[in-house]
């Protein structure tokens, strides 16, 4: 397998791998897995208002999967939470120069992000509803 420099770099130094210290405020988490594809992702997103303050992730999977998670985590920080829903896995695949058969794994990553998004919506609703 040939890995792009982008993938190699992200895979080797995934700055935001890990999780927030307990008690970090305003954190939502989302998780997704696919056993047959051999991948699992978990994201934690800490928000301040509608801005993403910080992101952490854990990932089990191939280099593309880990690099993709690292890329997403890095890219989201400082952006509006709407950016989560805007992420396009086809585009991410091209950015990472990953072969097309890796798309399935990226869609699992998308599921994990969607779980974060849903949690954010729930939170917003419950805040509104309260």
């Amino acid at each position: 397998m040939d890995y792009s420099l982008e993938v190699q770099e992200r895979f080797r130094s995934p700055a935001r791998a890990g999780e927030f210290a307990e008690g970090t405020p305003q954190v939502v988490a989302g998780e997704a897995e696919d056993r047959t594809l051999n991948v699992w992702f978990r994201f934690q997103i800490s928000v301040a208002g509608t801005v993403i303050r910080a992101v952490r992730f854990r990932a089990f999977g191939c280099p593309h999967s880990i690099a993709a998670a690292a890329w997403v985590a890095d890219g989201l920080e400082g952006r509006d939470v709407a950016a989560i829903a805007d992420l396009d896995m086809h585009e991410l695949r091209r950015k990472l120069d990953a072969p097309v058969e890796k798309l399935g794994k990226l869609l699992v990553l998308e599921d994990a992000l969607r779980a974060c998004w849903d949690a954010l919506q729930d939170q917003a609703e419950s805040r509104n509803g309260s």
Partner: protein, 389 residues
């Protein structure tokens, strides 16, 4: 090999030994023995002499007479010729074929092709350590069984089957036995005569000979239908202009391939690697702890994806298993046969050592694998149980 990464993929293929390359050069250089070994002129006779010398070198290494050795393009073709040849021969006593699910694709795909041509195939399972018992073979043979094909050394795990005992069962029940010994030569003894096997597939490139040349041992009297047609070369089993430089290289490689000398060294390197790696939490050896070839070590690192580990350890050339599987994402059929889950199989690495492996390389490998397994398990902390972490 200074600028090269650490190479621990000798089971996929080996570099050519400089002494082998020197013999090959004698055919490739200007003024060398380039002539067609089938030509009647003096140059042709000199080339023929090289071919016959190589045949003797090979025969001597595996304990048989030179005229029982036919040259092919490698073990893939040898396996095909043995299996197709024996099952298609007029003399085949029935249309039943017995093999095992841990065989190389060259055997399994040929078995599947024979099934499509109406041959009934029994695929024997192995135990969780990769062993197919002689009794299983015995039980599978019927009076319709024309051929049994069991590999000697498994290419992914190094597991060794008890060919002598299996051969005895085959002989007793009148079935021919073919043995894929592509991985064996130079690492463990290949006493074909003592085994009493009928057909044995050999190759050069796993033992410091050139790629693209192999041989098939054919016990005298064994009838084979040819797979490739075209004249009377080499006893009629396999036509085509004999590739003198390749054959001479294989001969020299086999001459040099003494398991009595090298086997212990390989085992020491392999054991040192396993000793180092088994210090890690939660690793497992795939295959048999003792009944295995000294050059292969297959280890599962639960919780660590194999591709990630391979990329993470950087300039160390190892393999998921068979090189041919590299492009296909499915789990190794051999590791599945040992009962490993998909994830566990995908977390496995084959390390294979060879003539040019050093203790320093082993130690460096242990260091790098240990660090990377730790790092990747940290990134995957909290992953579900199926991932193995």
């Amino acid at each position: 090999m200074t600028s090269k990464p650490i190479y621990l993929d000798y089971a996929a293929t080996t570099p050519v030994d400089p002494r082998v390359a020197a013999v090959m050069r004698e055919c490739l250089e200007p003024g060398g023995d380039f002539e067609n070994p089938s030509s009647p002129h003096s140059g042709g006779r000199q080339a023929r002499f090289r071919v016959e010398k190589a045949r003797e070198q090979i025969a001597r290494r595996v304990g048989v007479a030179p005229e029982t050795i036919a040259f092919t393009s490698g073990a893939t073709e040898s396996n095909n010729l043995a299996i197709q040849g024996a099952l298609n021969a007029d003399s085949a006593r029935g249309r039943h074929f017995v093999t095992s699910i841990t065989e190389h694709k060259a055997v399994l795909d040929t078995a599947a092709a024979m099934e499509r041509r109406g041959i009934e195939v029994t695929y024997l399972r192995c135990d969780t350590q990769g062993i197919v018992s002689p009794q299983q073979v015995d039980d599978a043979i019927t009076d319709q069984t024309a051929l049994v094909s069991i590999m000697h050394v498994n290419n992914e795990t190094g597991v060794i089957q008890d060919i002598g005992e299996i051969a005895e069962r085959c002989r007793a029940s009148g079935a021919l036995l073919h043995v894929d010994a592509a991985q064996s030569v130079g690492k463990v003894p290949v006493p074909i005569d003592a085994w009493g096997a009928d057909l044995v597939a050999l190759t050069a490139h796993k033992i410091y000979g050139p790629k693209g040349i192999g041989a098939l041992y054919v016990k005298p009297g064994t009838r084979l239908a040819p797979v490739i047609h075209g004249g009377e070369w080499d006893g009629g089993v396999r036509p085509g202009t004999l590739a003198t430089h390749q054959i001479a290289g294989m001969g020299e490689a086999y001459e040099l391939a003494d398991p009595d000398r090298e086997g212990a060294e390989l085992r020491e390197l392999r054991d040192r690697l396993w000793n180092g790696l088994s210090q890690l939490d939660n690793v497992r050896l795939n295959g048999h702890p003792t009944q295995s070839s000294p050059h292969v070590l297959n280890v599962a690192f639960p919780g660590v994806d194999g591709d990630s580990l391979r990329l993470g350890i950087g300039e160390i050339a190892v393999s998921a298993g068979a090189a041919c599987d590299a492009a296909t994402p499915e789990a190794s059929h051999v590791l599945s046969a040992l009962g490993l889950s998909n994830a566990l199989a995908a977390s496995s690495q084959r390390f294979s050592v060879g003539r040019f492996t050093t203790i320093e390389q082993i130690d460096e490998t242990i260091r790098r694998v240990t660090a990377e397994v730790g790092r990747l398990r940290e990134i995957a902390a909290g992953a579900p149980a199926w991932a193995g972490n």
